[in-house]
Symmetry: C2
Subunit: 288 residues, 2 copies
């Protein structure tokens, strides 16, 4: 398992592979990889000849310095997981390599970024879009793999790639969960056993919301209040947002008349966890 830190060097490697007619899959990550990432890498390895995994904690997408500084890392564990999942290469550049002196550009997707995480984390998606544009153009992969846990991120990235004619395919993959139902996240590592137990309320409530909708409830505000109360009822859980939105525009709706997405971000102690569920569709997990 090779780790490359420089743009020029990773491009040389990818050029070799492409010159040999090989296809390139790419899994962008912030490191501290878990089985969720593993499943993205495995799928990328099935669908491409070579798989590049980036490990880069992008300062531009953090609005909160504490959150950035406390983001967990374990490059040696990451190497094991990438190897075990069939990846070929880790690209882990320094912040200086990605944002050299004088860097002044940004990429943004408007309208899709003002609800959900975009509403409570101003500038977050601008940071995500800017760094992903850079990675997409540096690596020039054929296919890029994202989990559906961050539904909004997936939608924003798909929009950006279509809008800017970036020549690659974005593939959304089913959220991988613990047996308990908790969505896999690097942030789970910071949860105590007690917090981990409390965190189960997130997915449980999303599933309960889906059941209520199946049983005929259509009033979004009623469901929202009920869900927030249910989540915060466990004690130590603070809802950052709980919204039900249109699956494409991500705009808030007031009645569930067709497919919709319930998405939530919840602070369990200091950790901010996100999850979502498709309503009015067939699957329990989102299927973007």
């Amino acid at each position: 398992m090779e780790i490359i830190r420089e743009i020029g060097e990773v491009q040389k490697k990818i050029k070799e592979w492409k010159d040999a007619g090989e296809s390139i899959g790419f899994v962008p990550t912030m490191g501290y990889l878990h089985r969720g990432h593993g499943s993205l890498i495995e799928r990328a390895a099935r669908e491409n000849d070579r798989v590049v995994v980036s490990v880069f904690v992008n300062p531009m997408q953090f609005d909160n310095c504490n959150d950035l500084d406390s983001y967990p890392s374990d490059l040696s564990g990451d190497m094991d997981l990438v190897t075990g999942s069939g990846g070929d290469l880790i690209f882990s550049p320094t912040v200086q390599e990605i944002y050299p002196r004088g860097f002044n550009s940004l990429v943004e997707v408007e309208n899709l970024d003002n609800e959900l995480c975009g509403a409570t984390r101003p500038g977050h998606f601008r940071g995500v879009c800017t760094v992903l544009t850079k990675f997409f153009l540096i690596l020039a992969p054929h296919r890029v793999y994202f989990g559906k846990k961050d539904y909004q991120q997936l939608m924003v990235v798909k929009r950006m790639v279509a809008d800017l004619n970036i020549p690659l395919e974005i593939i959304g993959c089913t959220t991988v969960r613990e047996e308990s139902g908790l969505a896999m996240s690097s942030r789970n590592a910071r949860l105590s056993e007690d917090e981990k137990r409390k965190a189960l309320i997130i997915n449980q409530t999303l599933k309960a919301v889906k059941d209520r909708v199946i049983q005929g409830e259509v009033e979004v505000e009623k469901i929202r209040r009920w869900a927030i109360e249910r989540i915060e009822g466990v004690g130590g859980a603070v809802v950052d947002y709980f919204e039900i939105v249109h699956p494409d525009t991500l705009q808030k709706i007031t009645k569930i008349e067709d497919k919709a997405v319930a998405a939530t971000a919840v602070f369990i102690g200091k950790s901010r966890l996100i999850d979502n569920i498709i309503l009015g569709g067939k699957d329990e997990t989102t299927d973007a």
Copy 2:
């Protein structure tokens, strides 16, 4: 001379050329081509196997609808000029092809865009950067040619390409002028004979400013006031801005101690004309 209107079709053509090992030069334009464009196309033809010229009046970069609606066009004249200059193909997409329903993305270069044209035309460079990113990724040329008449545009585009790792080379080319010194512009076509004569004051004043600097003047504010008075003295000329800025950061300076750029935009009647000159360097024209 082929005109292609669809993204998929132009990409197919370029793929054929690239598969045959040919290099691609690109000259982005808003049409109504003149000798200045001709000289960019000629240079692109000398340095590349194939040259694509885009003709697209980009609504996203116009802050003023009248300016957009009255922008001159002459596609048949453009075809003749492209052919005569050694170009291979005109890519002239519809607005719908470039900005389909749901389009929501933007690319922006901060800090370089808040002086000069960026200060008096809010959103202008955001429109320029967004459409150029799209064209660069659609066409994937090896080299792209810009005139130095729009010095700020050249600097903004160079910054954007470096920042976003867009894999191509930006080449700035010397401004082509009428014998009278007037910088070539599609907007010159809208000038009456009287206005054309008055417009000469722009380049004359820039050269006079350069002379004053050579003679030892360093006070920017003194030069600015003198220049604006000199330009507006011809009657019917209204200075939109006249600034002396750092050649890289484009930030205003107060004393000319090293290389600097004097840049101006002047309304002659209804036409807004721009020009610039490098101060403290060797050339009369900018040399970015």
